[in-house]
Subunit: 488 residues, 2 copies
């Protein structure tokens, strides 16, 4: 795959200054998003444009995720964007959760509609309606369908990729004969999500169950994967919901069971979104801009020819030959042949987070080697041209692994257990990250902790350790060890 | 790729009766769409659900089209679903063409919006707005961006895949320095579209230019590819528009040219949609249902085990081994191990248009062979198990080619030239298809012909023959040879 970008060689377009991460993480984030041309603001309030470089990252994430979704027996389909308002209203908790956030279509084809249409914030209602038509017998189950789509949730405060009124995602919706099957599916997908984050994006995550107050509107149980960003705030990277029979009852999805009785199906739903791009930026990036894990990098290698004025004649043909070799080996490569100084090109590809820069000049050609520069560690090493594709493929694998290791170390160094509420408040104040503490399970305690510290329960690890003591806040018996954090 | 389908083994779900094509083509079409589970009606007026089997066809078309779009230097991106009404209103012809068809979002987040938002019917307006921000210099050109998206156009009369209020498509939007470059791009894409139709879908098409009255709202010139359906009606399968500077002027997309003057860019836009699935159905299908060209068939081979009561023990393991061999060779294969009669399974996979059925029973195993049955010709032939994957791959290539040949023959047999208006009317009445006739270029004649015969000008072949005589209707000098047809 090659991803030629929109050309922007005017000096003023390449603002190389990015607010330092340590100085203002939020501003750094937005600078990186805009200067690496990942996304841009649009004239539509709360909506962003995903630019080619950002979309190429999304396509790589999509491809990896879609392959796993299909390998586990799911198929893709497509359901309408619009949901009649009355359908959204059927599941009480669902309505309560989503109604304040929806956009309504009231006019179409020059006429006012008899019933207003909701622009889908999620598709349980429309898909549930179809499943009710499609399912008659236990033989029709399970239904394992996924959809790639855009959804709309009205947001007051937005941030590119992390929270926008419209975003892209996949949403899986399944229906099963029994409760254990639905639970198994819910957890299977949670593990699949974890694998995508860790293997493809080099982002370590904590799997666990959400508290009642944080679960999906209409679900029995919600599980999530939570990642730690570079500023010590957590990001929910994916959710998987066991819907129980809630939607089946609301939408009348019944089937004749093996014993001839009529039963409601057991449902699940699960999704991951374009916010994953934000996670990659915030976990791996540094003061110079993006640092992309090789597996989701639109370009894994940027070749920069170096030389005197005659470099187009002397160096470029050799650089082109190297490019061809690397592409033939399945690598994603760009050759920067623009009329700019090499130093300017170095900064440009650094800012865009390309994992490896390959420099080639007259002396390298003489020696039959090239110079490789790692984006993550900034190490430089000479490499012989012979066997270069295999060597680079190995190096990219190593970079991928080391990025995961580094992010895991950071996460572990920013995860602590506390035994008292004083410790908890201190931890949340001074040095953010995950703070693990016993919790009684009461929503009131959870709310008070949030009011006191801004921290929320991210999740409670599945099969985690027994609580190490009483509830951190109320001293009553603890129900679980909860992972708290300030979050996006 | 394997595409496990939603299981539906209840006898009543597999209604095998499909209205004969010759009896009622429209009803046949809808029967095939629903019984092959390609699509289903939804509770949203004018919107359909694309079911997994239909969506799998779309994914194969997408993959082939996306690869060609990227190979010609384009990149994907994503622009907002919503367009502020004032932006849509900027290009006068564009507004006039689309305003009657749009859906409006008037409320979001519990409040009435200050400005209503259009749900995109196409994205020239929003993309043009962004290009105005992104383009400063000739060095920023060309911009070659494509988007895969859903769009909404309010339709009064809908038909699955062919005309629905919401549909899926790709829309390319490019900006160029000069008029010739924009024209070259417009035609490059037209040829690319033709190649997808012919090579991937085995659907022959006529490339040509649309008349003024049929061109895209806001374009300078529109080109289309037109295919002939099995009932002799034409279907517009893709359009490519040279937008001239119309949108550049409306959205102020200017750049500093090489001579330092400030110029408007030259634009193009082009799209193909999920209606292509409808084309595949109507070109290749027959009274038994779908006939899918191998390259866009979710399953290229359906294996049906045959045998006595003990077939699960005696035949199934061997059938499974065959399946594995074929999948390892890169073929898309399903093995039907359901508890149903083989005859029922034959009808099922025939109806779903799988190009090859592979039967395997105890006698075949004894002889070391299998039986292959072609969906298109219904020919059956025994094939030795040794070398089966290569033999089947060859056979699928041949089927693909023969489907194109057959469709081309049909198209040619249903294309005629006429020299008088009497002949024209007779041709349009008796035996539909393409009717080629000289036309003066006047919209009044075009409109009168449509009123008299329901036929429209599909397009006028690029670089086609000089008119063979005066205008078929008014006898004035002809401007072009036009291809007329009744159309979808």
């Amino acid at each position: 795959m090659t991803v030629p970008m929109v050309k922007k060689p005017d000096a003023q377009s390449f603002v190389t200054e990015i607010t330092p991460r340590s100085q203002d993480f939020s501003k750094w984030y937005v600078d990186v998003v805009r200067r690496a041309e990942l996304a841009d603001y649009s004239p539509v309030k709360g909506c962003m444009v995903i630019r080619p470089y950002g979309y190429a990252i999304w396509e790589l994430i999509q491809r990896a995720l879609d392959a796993r979704i299909k390998a586990t027996g799911h198929v893709n389909a497509y359901f309408p964007l619009f949901i009649p308002n009355s359908l959204l209203m059927r599941e009480a908790a669902h309505v309560e959760g989503f109604a304040p956030q929806v956009a309504y279509v009231t006019h179409g084809g020059g006429e006012e509609l008899e019933e207003k249409l909701v622009v889908r914030p999620t598709s349980e209602a429309i898909i549930g309606t179809m499943y009710a038509k499609w399912v008659q017998s236990w033989r029709d189950l399970p239904i394992l369908i996924n959809q790639w789509a855009n959804v709309v949730r009205w947001e007051k405060v937005t941030r590119p990729f992390l929270r926008t009124t419209e975003f892209l995602w996949q949403e899986g919706h399944t229906a099963h004969e029994t409760e254990p099957e639905a639970e198994e599916e819910t957890l299977k997908i949670l593990h699949l999500y974890k694998d995508v984050l860790e293997t493809e994006m080099a982002v370590p995550v904590v799997e666990g169950q959400k508290s009642e107050s944080e679960k999906f509107a209409g679900a029995l149980r919600t599980y999530s994967i939570e990642a730690l960003m570079g500023d010590g705030r957590a990001l929910q990277a994916g959710t998987s919901h066991n819907l129980g029979q809630n939607f089946a009852k609301a939408f009348d999805i019944t089937f004749q069971a093996r014993d001839k009785s009529v039963q409601h199906v057991w449902g699940t739903s699960w999704g991951m979104t374009t916010r994953l791009i934000g996670a990659a930026i915030m976990v791996h990036g540094d003061d110079s801009g993006l640092v992309l894990p090789p597996r989701i990098a639109p370009y894994q290698v940027a070749i920069v020819p170096i030389g005197k004025d005659d470099w187009r004649e002397t160096v470029l043909p050799r650089a082109e030959a190297v490019r061809r070799d690397l592409v033939a080996a399945g690598l994603r490569v760009t050759l920067d042949a623009r009329d700019e100084r090499p130093g300017w090109k170095f900064a440009e590809w650094e800012m865009r987070g390309v994992p490896l820069r390959l420099e080639i000049g007259p002396k390298d050609i003489e020696k039959g080697s090239v110079m490789l520069a790692r984006r993550d560690t900034r190490e430089k090493l000479a490499a012989p041209m012979a066997g270069l594709p295999a060597r680079i493929a190995d190096l990219l694998e190593r970079i991928q692994q080391e990025l995961l290791d580094r992010a895991t170390r950071f996460r572990d160094e920013h995860t602590q257990r506390v035994a008292s509420y004083d410790q908890f408040r201190q931890a949340m104040d001074g040095r953010p990250g995950f703070v693990i503490a016993p919790w009684c399970g009461a929503a009131a305690c959870e709310a008070q902790i949030k009011a006191d510290t801004q921290a929320t329960i991210r999740n409670m690890p599945i099969g985690g350790a027994a609580p190490s003591g009483p509830c951190i806040r109320c001293d009553n018996e603890a129900a679980a060890e909860a992972w708290f954090a300030k979050s996006y």
